[in-house]
């Protein structure tokens, strides 16, 4: 069952088509990744989903009904460019954001204090936001995103600019929300994160959705004839070999596309014969990065 459907969204800014007829579906209880390089149209798509931009065309459908203001109250949104009122006190800030979502009263305050304790910021609750370190301000921003107990969490490039501690914290929050049955949608240009966290993805390039579906299905589809290899030694002898269709070096691992799915054993044999120390040999495996490069080309350096 799809909880949220995006249908034919289109948005044009002065003749530039930012999002072009984008459609995708977000299943219940999933972590959904909207993937693409910088400027591909992710933020515009998300802003349209949030009702911050009005689409030129298309709809966002929640369980069969077009979304409106009441949807906004059910969403926790973390924009790519985050901001807080600098002069406002920490606790006031949290309560204000919850109030805008329609949650007021003692219970919210209690919850806010719980979160502050959990994130080790309880003793700073009466401090002004500007007196907090950047990392702590990020924590406040997370709390404000989820304090009102949203059914949907939409995160735009959530991992950009986070320190490692907060990156893990955010990951925990995302997994915790998932375990509570919430739907998490995030956009990222970091394929690595998407691959580790998402159940479903939609890949967007130049405003168009070029790939969508369950990550495991997508990988299975693209993984045939594919081997990912971690090794020590020299594998340059493989270049030009007749069983190899394509080779791509990703640093730690090398992705190898064979001409035929039955040739994996033959490849392994070749490696052993050439004294290559195989540390990891993963047949029928492909990284999201490889899929992306294959589909979108690699002329842009924005994807890493």
């Amino acid at each position: 069952m799809y909880s949220l459907e995006v249908r034919n969204l289109t948005k044009t800014f002065e003749k530039i088509v930012a999002v072009d007829n984008a459609s995708f579906e977000v299943p219940d209880g999933s972590i959904f990744g909207l993937i693409g390089r910088n400027g591909a149209g992710k933020t515009t798509t998300i802003r349209m989903m949030m009702g911050i931009y009005l689409p030129d065309n298309g709809d966002v459908i929640l369980k069969g009904v077009k979304v409106g203001q009441e949807f906004k109250s059910r969403v926790g949104y973390l924009p790519e460019e985050r901001g807080l009122y600098k002069k406002m006190k920490v606790l006031d800030t949290l309560l204000y954001f919850a109030e805008l979502k329609g949650k007021t009263g003692k219970s919210v305050q209690k919850k806010a204090e719980e979160y502050l304790k959990r994130f080790e910021l309880y003793d700073r609750r009466l401090a002004k936001v500007e007196d907090l370190s950047k990392g702590n301000q990020q924590k406040i921003q997370f709390i404000s995103t989820i304090l009102h107990d949203p059914d949907f969490v939409i995160l735009d490039e959530p991992f950009s600019g986070l320190d490692p501690v907060n990156t893990n914290l955010l990951k925990d929050i995302i997994l915790e929300m998932k375990s509570k049955g919430k739907v998490i949608i995030f956009s990222t240009h970091l394929m690595d994160f998407a691959e580790k966290m998402c159940d479903h993805i939609a890949m967007i390039d130049r405003g168009k959705i070029i790939l969508k579906g369950s990550l495991s299905e997508i990988k299975a589809k693209y993984a045939q004839r594919n081997v990912s290899l971690t090794y020590d030694g020299d594998i340059s002898f493989l270049t030009g070999n007749q069983i190899i269709e394509k080779m791509e070096n990703f640093g730690n691992t090398t992705g190898i596309r064979l001409k035929d799915a039955n040739q994996t054993q033959q490849l392994l044999k070749l490696l052993v014969e050439h004294n290559v120390i195989v540390k990891k040999f993963n047949a029928n495996d492909i990284s999201l990065q490889e899929i992306f490069v294959e589909l979108a080309g690699k002329e842009d350096g924005g994807v890493k």
Binding site: I52, Y53, L54, K72, P79, L100
Partner: protein, 420 residues
């Protein structure tokens, strides 16, 4: 239109503004500042250096008469002004001036007033001094000298003292205000003072509130918090909340200021001289506040709109001047109207949106304005809100998410056509 989200924004604006240092300071200090300025002016006028004048007449009789008159005036009492009275001919005067040149240049002798014989014909006298344009001094001795001249002139012509007194008098205008219901009553400068106070307070408050609105929008835009807010609240709700919050603050502040003025005006403690006694009517205060509240919504829509277009205060300053003109022009119109309360421009401006915010309350202090005019002034402003607000809202909606290059006005006009 007003829902829990707008209320939330209003509450935050109020909390932020009402408890801010600048609000408390301006609310308390501004009236003090006004009194301070008034005090300084009084002080400056009273501050005169000691003067020493030689009054020289060619006619001994005139000298005696001048001496008798000047020494009985208030001038001599303060001890600041001293006179010496001499009789000499023009030739002798020349010599006297040469002798005393050094004293005059050293400020030991302020000046020499010379009354030649011809003064009894043409009332022309001569003043020799380092600074012969000292108006405040000549104003003070002008009266007594004139009195002496008239007395001397008419002395031989068997006129009664009453006739002399009449001849001596200048003309004195007393203003009588004609109004519909009250009896005709004499009016002092009180209403004029009130006009200045109204015009000045409205002008200052509009500028301050507008400036604060502008800054707060720019800050929200620059700190990127606006997108977080927009994920809960739509742009129109946000703008409405901000405008109402600011307007409430400004009207409250105005109320406090006017309250202070009413208190001062009605308390005997300050014992103002009766001719500048301010008579302030409740209806004037109520109308001013209502009219101001409506006008603020109108003005703040524009200030908010301008703020949304730019993402830093420097650019915004340059973009703000058209709106600033809308604040300044009515101020100058109302100043001009004080000279001539029935000027056509003033009458028209008291009905036009934007200008009427300042002009109408000021007009109310100098002439009686019929109720229908007051009502239509407010109605016109409300109508203007319905026209301006959607335009400002649209530009705000587009502008608030824009960053980067400073947009051209032609681009801003294009935003109106955007579907956002």
């Amino acid at each position: 239109m007003i829902n829990h989200r707008v209320l939330g924004v209003i509450k935050r604006e109020l909390k932020e503004k009402l408890f801010s240092k600048s609000f408390i300071l301006t609310t308390v200090l501004f009236p003090l500042f006004l009194f301070f300025i008034a005090g300084i002016q009084v002080f400056l006028r009273g501050d005169e250096a000691n003067t020493k004048l030689s009054i020289v007449a060619e006619d001994q009789k005139l000298t005696d008469a001048l001496q008798a008159e000047l020494l009985t005036t208030d001038l001599i009492k303060g001890g600041k002004h001293t006179f010496q009275f001499l009789t000499m001919s023009r030739e002798e005067l020349k010599k006297y001036l040469d002798e005393n040149k050094k004293l005059m240049l050293d400020d030991k002798l302020t000046g020499v007033v010379f009354l030649p014989r011809s003064v009894m014909k043409d009332k022309k006298l001569e003043y020799y001094s380092k600074s012969p344009t000292n108006i405040s001094l000549s104003r003070k001795i002008e009266g007594p000298i004139n009195k002496v001249l008239i007395d001397t002139y008419f002395n031989n012509r068997s006129l009664s003292k009453d006739e002399l007194d009449f001849a001596r008098k200048g003309v004195d205008f007393s203003g009588y205000k004609v109004s519909k219901d009250d009896k005709i009553k004499e009016e002092g400068y009180g209403s004029l003072v009130l006009s200045y106070v109204f015009a000045f307070l409205l002008y200052i408050s509009l500028l301050m509130t507008g400036q604060m609105m502008l800054q707060s929008v720019i800050e929200e835009k620059a700190s990127r918090i606006v997108e977080v807010i927009l994920s809960s609240v739509n742009a129109k709700e946000m703008m409405t909340g901000k405008i109402i919050g600011s307007a409430i603050t400004a009207v409250m502040q105005m109320g406090i200021w006017l309250g202070a003025i009413v208190t001062v005006a009605s308390s005997a403690m300050f014992a103002l001289p009766p001719e500048i006694m301010i008579s302030i009517k409740t209806s004037q205060v109520v109308f001013l506040l209502v009219n101001y509240a409506v006008g603020l919504v109108l003005f703040l829509s524009l200030f908010g709109m301008v703020g949304s277009i730019f993402d830093n205060p420097q650019d915004a300053q340059s973009g703000m001047w058209p709106v600033m003109m809308l604040v300044m022009i009515p101020f100058f119109i109302s100043m001009a109207m004080l000279e001539n309360p029935n000027s056509p421009i003033g009458s028209v401006a008291s009905f036009l949106p934007f200008t009427s915010v300042i002009v109408m309350p000021v007009k109310m202090t100098v002439v009686d304005v019929p109720i229908w005019q007051l009502v239509s002034c407010v109605v016109v402003n409300i109508a203007a809100i319905f026209f301006i607000f959607p335009i400002a809202g649209k530009i705000y909606r587009v502008g608030i998410l824009r960053t980067g290059k400073k947009p051209k006005w032609s681009e801003v006009v294009k935003w109106l056509k955007y579907k956002y």
